[in-house]
């Protein structure tokens, strides 16, 4: 059984495409990159100047005892050093600047893309995993751009130069020393494949661990209450251990690879020494050339083992970019329409036409639902838990798209409606209240629309939240902890309610908006709503029938089907499901002393 946190196994290597796509991110900064490469070359050239100046100093001045000349050349040396210093700094800065820019671009791109993804994506992907994409994975790419790519250019440049010089010096000897290259080639390929696999494994482990941590930190008190610390620790340990194993494996490959390259290099040198030595003995080759050859081939293998060091970065980057691109390539299942309809003024008519819907193929949740709500009407939805009430609302705001049928607002299918306008006109109090960590005021007004402090305060007054807000040390500027955990659950719900009202919606949707609020406050809110809701459409979901009695119409949902609708009185007359629900709530009260409702039995015994 693969767990929810398991990363999907990724497809076969397509390095080239990845690399090309990655390089694309360099493109906007190509000038800076080129400049930086140029500086790098300058620095390398200046580095070579040192030995040359030394040689000149010795040959021309020290040997001849020319102190004046020596002074001059020492000064020149200093000058070269200073230039080198400046160029090196400029190069590093430019490259890092580019790296940071790219990182910024990528992060913003990923984040923006996440905002476009539909809600269903987040049902399947743990928060921790998405966070890993945005933070760690991008960071790895930054390293590629700042320390990897550029110096690879440098390395390749050096390699090519050395090959040419060696061929030019003595092509036979050069070929002899290159004879080990196939071995090197094979070794690198094996290494590449192995390291790639193990890096993928490492990245998977990191994401898994982060997802696990994320979940366990948020649910820590549940773990503590149920005394499951040991078990959860063990599960964490398992993930941690796997991460360790994955890393140890890649360490092994690296530990083998470096010495292997060195050994191959030594082999080449030994070949040169032996073959070249024989030629020297035969008088075909000068000793000087042999020494030069040896030095060049030493320099030849140095960049190669450097390259393999870079490989480390490259591999990590590839593994990360694969996952990032996979996220970026995820098409949002719900996308804004190509030619969005923007209604001039949205009246607030809602219509469901033969809507059927399933979250997962084979388990239908809503079946052939049709109803309509006139502008300004207040409609209640009741039904047993799990009957699909919240799902209806999810469809109304287009969190998901229907499989068949149509949801319409003001006679326009929601799929054609401008998504922004749709969501701007609807305010929802979701069943699962979510507060952001920020101030109370921010939580009510949010960040998008210019909502005045006064509106915020009014909205809280309507829902009777201002009473408790005022008692907080900094009132509306008090910061709430993550998810509002420093407030009582009822208080959180009131804030979510205030948020909905402050956004002045055309359509107000309340999904169990007062389920955790005490009766007195609930009543007060209802009275306030009575006035506030003039001219607005409202859809109210509630289990307490008392909460919905002011509604114009009641829809009864049963196992995903709309089985009854009508006014409270109509439905009582019908003696169907609603009637039973009502009786039940009511019989409860009959069983207790009827101190305040002596005539209740009479009025209910004869419904309608």
């Amino acid at each position: 059984m693969t767990s929810f946190h398991e990363e999907e196994i990724l497809g076969k290597a397509y390095d080239k495409r990845l690399a090309r796509r990655l390089l694309g991110y360099l493109y906007p900064y190509r000038r800076v990159v080129l400049l930086s490469v140029f500086f790098l070359l300058v620095v390398s050239a200046l580095q070579l100047a040192g030995p040359y100046l030394t040689k000149v100093a010795i040959d021309r001045y020290i040997r001849t005892g020319n102190i004046q000349g020596l002074n001059g050349i020492a000064l020149l040396f200093l000058g070269v050093l200073l230039a080198q210093f400046c160029f090196a700094f400029a190069q590093t800065y430019l490259m890092n600047w580019t790296g940071q820019k790219i990182m910024y671009d990528l992060r913003v791109q990923i984040f923006t893309h996440i905002q476009k993804l539909h809600v269903g994506y987040f049902d399947r992907n743990p928060v921790g995993r998405i966070i890993t994409r945005v933070t760690t994975d991008v960071d790895v790419l930054n390293e590629l751009f700042t320390s990897g790519v550029i110096s690879i250019f440098g390395d390749i440049f050096t390699l090519a130069g050395i090959v040419l010089i060696m061929l030019w010096l003595n092509w036979k000897l050069a070929l002899v020393s290159f004879s080990v290259i196939p071995v090197l080639f094979v070794a690198s390929i094996i290494f590449k494949v192995k390291v790639r696999d193990s890096y993928r494994w490492v990245r998977t482990c990191v994401a898994k661990m982060n997802a696990f941590l994320q979940e366990n930190i948020t649910g820590m008190s549940v773990v503590q209450i149920f005394v499951q610390e040991k078990r959860k620790f063990q599960q964490f340990d398992e993930r941690n251990r796997e991460h360790l194993d994955a890393n140890l494996q890649s360490i092994f490959y690296y530990a083998v690879f470096y010495p292997a390259v060195n050994l191959i290099g030594a082999l080449a040198i030994a070949l040169i020494l032996w073959y070249g030595g024989v030629q020297v003995l035969a008088g075909v080759l000068t000793l000087g050339s042999l020494v030069a050859f040896i030095q060049y081939s030493e320099r030849f293998y140095k960049p190669i083992s450097d390259l393999s060091e870079k490989f480390n970065i490259l591999q990590t980057a590839m593994a990360s970019s694969e996952r990032i691109f996979r996220l970026l390539d995820t098409q949002p299942a719900i996308s804004p329409p190509l030619h969005p309809v923007r209604l001039k003024s949205l009246k607030g008519k809602i219509e469901f036409r033969n809507v059927s819907f399933a979250y997962k193929e084979d388990t239908p949740v809503l079946r052939n639902i049709s109803f309509s709500v006139a502008p300004g009407e207040k409609v209640a939805i009741v039904g047993a838990t799990g009957s699909g009430k919240s799902t209806l609302i999810n469809l109304l705001c287009r969190f998901y798209d229907v499989q068949s049928g149509e949801v319409r607002i003001d006679d326009t299918p929601v799929t054609h409606l401008d998504l922004d306008q749709l969501r701007q006109s609807i305010s929802i109090v979701l069943q699962d209240v979510f507060l952001f960590s920020g101030t109370i005021e921010e939580n009510i007004r949010l960040w998008e629309r210019p909502i005045e402090r006064k509106q915020v305060e009014d909205a809280s007054r309507w829902v009777h939240a201002d009473h408790f807000v005022q008692r907080l040390a900094s009132g509306y500027d008090e910061r709430v902890a993550e998810r509002g955990s420093s407030l009582s659950v009822g208080q959180r719900q009131l804030l979510a309610f205030a948020r909905a009202l402050a956004h002045d919606p055309k359509i107000l949707v309340l999904d169990e908006a007062t389920s955790s609020v005490d009766t007195e406050t609930e009543l007060l809110i209802q009275d306030a709503l009575e006035k506030l809701m003039k001219g607005r459409t409202a859809v109210v979901i509630a289990h307490r029938l008392s909460t919905i009695q002011n509604c114009d119409r009641i829809l009864v949902l049963h196992r995903g089907q709309l089985i009854e609708q009508g006014s409270h009185q109509d439905l009582l007359k019908l003696r169907g499901v609603y009637y039973k629900l009502f009786q039940l709530q009511y019989r409860d009260q009959l069983a207790s002393p009827r101190l305040f409702a002596p005539d209740l039995r009479a009025s209910v015994g004869n419904p309608g």
Partner: protein
């Protein structure tokens, strides 16, 4: 030496936390350090052999000898390779083991911290410390140690060689390098500070992402996408500026070291050249000296590296220590001789509690005999949840205020206390596991039959039968793929399954329809007979059958008694009853 003073300065002090962890791997680290030494020595052999061979070639040399030298080069390299392999495998390996230990240690520590801590630090921030900062610390343990040892060896070795030629020249050439001390001090501090501020900002980015993704439904419902993108851009811009300010320092550091080294070489050329001209040293000496000096290049660069790694690592370690330094507020406590199973007599005496100076409970008294059902009602924010949280010791409880079976709960070991309480928290949290695993959360070893029984009581069983994979259905993060009422009922089953003498239901039926509520209450009443139950609800219908009803108002118990008693007393409860009743009545007109 400066390295020493640098090591024990206040910034790197954070790294001392690692010492106990390092001790465990003493042997490996010692061996690893020897491997570094061996690698360094072996690395000298091949060049030496080559030099010999070339010297021989000047004169006459036999082909056999040439072959012998060639073979020697390969052998030396093989030996070096072996040591290098061991060095990397051992030292980097140890760093991974240490990372593993440290991460486990951190997690175990997090498990002991109370909700107060989690309200102070956001999840994203903690995550960032546990991943990004931990890897910076890992760098210290692996490459950091490896390169510093390497640097020390090469430096000592090279300086010895230099001294063997001329101590005057040595002194002269090393003079500019003393400036390195100053650089290291200055740069070290800057790197540390700037890196810390970068990590802090990375934490903010993580937090922002975490908030955005967890609240994605609200974000979408209220069209907040663009606002979040703006905030995210801003946070990242800030991050970029902080990073670049580090680059300005760090980018200067390397070239500066190279420059200093170059100045050494230049002054050697200048001064040494004069000496050659004056005849105090030979040209050969000067050339040898120069080539030895070149050997210092690598350690100098490595020094830059090492300091960078150490400074970053210690900044990060400081951030991790900040978490580790939070002492758990609620300690295990208690003597082990307490009975494993409590009876369930609850006695709360004059309990007061405040969050950060904000009083929430005032002089609460409550008595519940084993088996009784106590209901708690009260308006929003009156302190009901706080009261039951204290009973589970989620927050520290003052001595002499809460007793179970006559024992102060501070004297009951925490795990035993909590094992004796089944708790349905007000905001449901489920794990992204299967339905069965969630129900069996408190007792993972329970049989399927027990799980199904618990599911029956909360009336979720029939619905589970409709799920695609029944009890093996995954519920998604926080139970996202379930309806509100389904989540709540799974949480009820989860609490029932632990079969504890005390059961707390905090508004546990708020998202359940009346019909289901009625059925659950009926089934529960059987379960509640032999348990002490604390029932929090806003509904009279849920609480009226309780043996005792407590009314909390602003943290005070304002009424207590049975349903009937309270009704005739005509206070808050009677008012509540009337309100709930009157509305039903209105509906029937």
């Amino acid at each position: 030496m400066f390295i020493k003073s640098w090591l024990i300065n206040s910034r790197t002090r954070h790294l001392l936390t690692l010492v106990p962890f390092l001790k465990k791997y003493r042997t490996q680290i010692t061996i690893g350090i020897f491997m570094v030494l061996a690698t360094n020595i072996a690395a000298m052999v091949a060049p030496w052999v080559l030099k010999r061979a070339v010297d021989h070639l000047y004169h006459e040399i036999s082909r056999e000898l040439l072959l012998y030298y060639s073979a020697l080069v390969v052998c030396a390299s093989a030996v070096e390779g072996f040591f290098r392999f061991q060095m990397r495998r051992i030292l980097i390996g140890v760093s991974r083991y240490l990372e593993y230990d440290l991460r486990n240690h951190l997690f175990a520590h997090l498990q002991r911290l109370t909700p107060r801590f989690y309200q102070q630090y956001s999840t994203g921030d903690i995550l960032s410390r546990a991943s990004n900062d931990l890897s910076a610390v890992r760098m210290v343990l692996g490459p950091g140690i490896m390169y510093s040892v390497n640097t020390v060896f090469t430096t000592i070795f090279t300086i010895t060689l230099l001294l063997s030629i001329s101590w005057k020249l040595t002194f002269l050439t090393l003079l500019p390098l003393f400036a390195v001390t100053y650089c290291v001090k200055y740069f070290g501090r800057s790197i540390h500070q700037r890196f810390e501020s970068i990590q802090r900002q990375l934490g903010s980015i993580t937090t922002l992402t975490q908030e955005n993704v967890s609240g994605i439904r609200v974000v979408k419902a209220y069209n907040q996408e663009n606002a979040f993108i703006e905030r995210f851009k801003q946070a990242n811009q800030d991050f970029m500026h902080r990073s670049l300010s580090l680059v300005r320092i760090w980018g200067l550091f390397y070239p500066l070291l190279t420059l200093l080294l170059g100045v050494s070489a230049a002054s050697l050329l200048w001064y040494g050249g004069r000496q050659v001209v004056q005849g105090s040293i030979t040209l050969g000496d000067l050339v040898a000296f120069m080539s030895y000096l070149a050997m210092l290049t690598w350690p100098t660069i490595a020094l830059g590296w090492v300091i960078n790694i150490f400074e970053r690592g210690s900044a990060s370690m400081g951030r991790i220590n900040e978490l580790l330094d939070h002492q758990p507020e609620v300690l295990e406590g208690g003597s082990k001789e307490t009975l494993a199973r409590l009876k369930g007599d609850i006695n709360i005496r004059n309990l007061s509690f405040s969050y950060n100076g904000f009083p929430v409970l005032r002089n609460v008294d409550l008595q519940a005999r084993a088996g009784e059902t106590i209901a708690i009602v009260g308006s929003t924010g009156s302190g009901k949840t706080t009261l039951v949280n204290l009973l589970c010791r989620l927050y520290p409880v003052e001595r002499g205020t809460i007793f179970i079976d006559g024992i102060d709960i501070n004297d009951i070991p925490l795990s035993i206390l909590r094992k004796n309480i089944g708790y349905v928290p007000q905001d449901t949290f489920l794990f992204s596991e299967t339905v069965a695993e969630n129900i069996a959360f408190g007792k993972p070893e329970s049989s399927r039959l027990d799980v199904e029984n618990a599911a029956h009581i909360s009336n979720i069983w029939p619905e589970i039968q409709h799920f695609p994979r029944k009890f093996e259905t995954f519920v998604g993060e926080r139970g996202i793929t379930l309806s509100g009422g389904q989540k709540q009922r799974i949480a009820i089953s989860r609490a029932l399954l632990v079969d504890s003498p005390i059961l707390i239901l905090d508004d546990a039926l708020s998202s359940v329809d009346t019909y289901t509520e009625e059925q659950i209450l009926r089934k529960l009443s059987g379960e509640l007979k032999n348990r002490t139950a604390l029932l929090i609800s806003h509904r009279v219908s849920t609480v009226k059958m309780a043996d005792q009803i407590i009314v909390l108002q602003e943290g005070r118990v304002v009424e207590r008694g049975t349903h009937d008693e309270l009704l005739s007393a005509g206070g808050f409860y009677a008012d509540l009853y009337q309100k709930q009743l009157l509305r039903e009545e209105l509906g029937v007109e």
